[in-house]
Symmetry: C3
């Protein structure tokens, strides 16, 4: 199942328009190329509709958002909806400021997202329509564990049903659900959180996977989340005692570059709830 999904990305080379933050944008472009997709970054409101039109899918990431790029997000998102292109939202830091929370909520109300991918704190803020987060990482109290997994799955399913979107909550255990079926994913390594932008990268990867597999967005999203986690594991295995988060970043993107559909099929570790 995941094999075909990953193979489709390399076969179809989906062109993904990304409106994203300037912190992790280079890694986002490289991971899109690594998985078999093709990236284009453009955030001026005078060109985003045209750029979205020549692409196949869209990622909107609100990290380092500003008044100029916010208007571009709405224009691109609405255009992508009209063209029936898959759209992924990464609500980076929702809850950390009113600007981020409100922008994310307004995007959710005016643009139809196929997938929303964030950490549990960001998703809680979006689900409740308010609340605070302590930066761009999940609050400690919110973390999904084996103990609270069922409660968390029920919560994420409920939010996904309300939105009619796939919701991917990533962390120690990832939850990917369309409101009906939930993948609980065990791939990944805790040190991925020591690299800036692994979440942003995953959102772009998800856009490529969903765009190349529009007939089953839930499974495509789960495959992207497993791929990122599996490559986090593969990258970790390469690390020597002198390597740190900078080399680890390279190794993960390298692993995505070399990942085969078979590897993903065999390495994916998840249960369905």
């Amino acid at each position: 199942m995941f094999k075909e999904i990953a193979d489709n990305v390399r076969a179809k080379t989906p062109l993904i328009h990304n409106i994203t933050n300037y912190v992790t944008v280079n890694d986002c472009a490289n991971i899109l190329l690594a998985c078999g997709g093709s990236p284009i970054m453009a955030d001026d409101e005078n060109e985003v509709e045209e750029i979205t039109s020549i692409c196949n899918g869209l990622t909107i990431n609100i990290g380092t958002l500003n008044s100029r790029t916010i208007s571009a997000m709405f224009k691109a998102g609405k255009k992508a909806n009209k063209l029936n292109h898959p759209v992924v939202l990464d609500p980076v830091g929702a809850g950390a400021s009113a600007l981020r929370t409100n922008t994310a909520l307004m995007l959710l109300s005016e643009v139809k997202f196929d997938v929303i991918r964030g950490n549990i704190s960001e998703i809680k803020v979006l689900a409740s329509g308010s609340g605070k987060t302590s930066g761009v990482d999940a609050n400690v109290d919110d973390v999904v564990t084996a103990e609270n997994l069922d409660t968390a799955v029920a919560f994420v399913k409920d939010f996904a049903r309300k939105l009619g979107s796939v919701v991917a909550v990533t962390g120690a255990i990832d939850i990917v659900t369309d409101g009906d079926k939930a993948f609980c994913i065990y791939n990944g390594d805790k040190d991925m959180g020591k690299i800036t932008g692994t979440g942003c990268q995953l959102s772009c990867l998800t856009a490529a996977f969903v765009t190349a597999n529009p007939e089953d967005k839930l499974t495509a999203t789960a495959a992207a989340v497993c791929a990122m986690g599996l490559c986090g594991e593969l990258g970790k295995k390469r690390m020597t005692s002198l390597d740190g988060n900078s080399s680890y970043r390279n190794y993960i993107i390298d692993a995505i570059y070399n990942l085969t559909g078979e590897q993903l099929e065999e390495g994916a570790r998840f249960e369905i709830k």
Copy 2:
């Protein structure tokens, strides 16, 4: 010939002002340092003329352009012209949106560029004054091959003559011409296209080479294109089975860092048409 050109870059440490996109800007800065140049990035219209004045050359790259940076491009370009500083244009994504096409065409009409470096699709759009491209990579139909090389050379020569500039079209075979003499360059590796920003990096490298060798901009541009391709080959040789595009990116910049004039002289593979 190429040896002296590369040696001049390290001897003169040209300071290059770059107005460029936020996707690949870090790699652009590092490749300028690697070749022996020195980078400064500045894109606010209130400082670009001053910044250009303390520099020796200028790169204008229209990837992720926006209304704020466009005006800075014109100001910096005109200032560089007044100071007789070499100016390189990288028309990233010309043809992908009207904003990019029109900005590139207006820049060509108001600023004198010493070198324009792009892929064949971007250059076709600029030469015809219209047309569409499918993103930031060359259209498949446009690709320069051994079969259509003579036609392509004639086309690029014609455009270079009209502009009175050196035009560098990079791809599987690179064409660098001033309208009279054309270097057809065979260095490089197809997987360089799997790294974001190798084109942007080459444009900055070209600015450094031309700025340190203003008396022969054609040969300096050809030397830069050969250097990038050769380092793409050298970087490729370092790759292990676990490496992918992220490590490859590092290896290419590393190879530029270690490249000697002798190595470039020996490794450059081209014919003149």
Copy 3:
């Protein structure tokens, strides 16, 4: 002494708000994670006060400043002052344009900075209130050497006393002083200057060190400067004949990631004047 300072960073995980340039921002985020801190980047004036409020410290870096981000710098800086959060200024390119010089000087007059970190040329411009620099690197004439060290220390001490701040001038020999006591630091490697952004990274590292050790900002700044230099040395030792500035960048961040308090204590090389 330095051991406890470095250990405090890992124990406290200071959350640092960074308003910084788009050239080196990714490396800044990764080095903050590497040292045990946590980064958040936000530069829109509509959210910077809130973002600063949820953080513990602030870095303001004027590389690639623009009209939009300048106002955000003032708002964030004033808010951090009100909250008694440590604030670090990196006056990148002060002296290279009036916009940069004036912005840095106005920031110094309206925001209380705990630490100012720059190269000697930038600091001279700030101290004199005028003057020119030749880009983002120190002017050759300004370089601190064994011969002019005492004069340089006296100059930096004087500036630090006037500001009531810690001033860190980095170069071949680094000077860190609060106006009374000066650390003259001998760690580092000259090839660190061949990597874009080692200065920017150090400013963010300093913010993390000072934020986790607010009771002794002078020593915390000196520890950060020693840590960066020491990791430059450690990274250099990893380099093979094929490695260049791109791999070197990764190795330095990796070394910060693996740096222990003991290593820093033992490896720091400085004298007090």
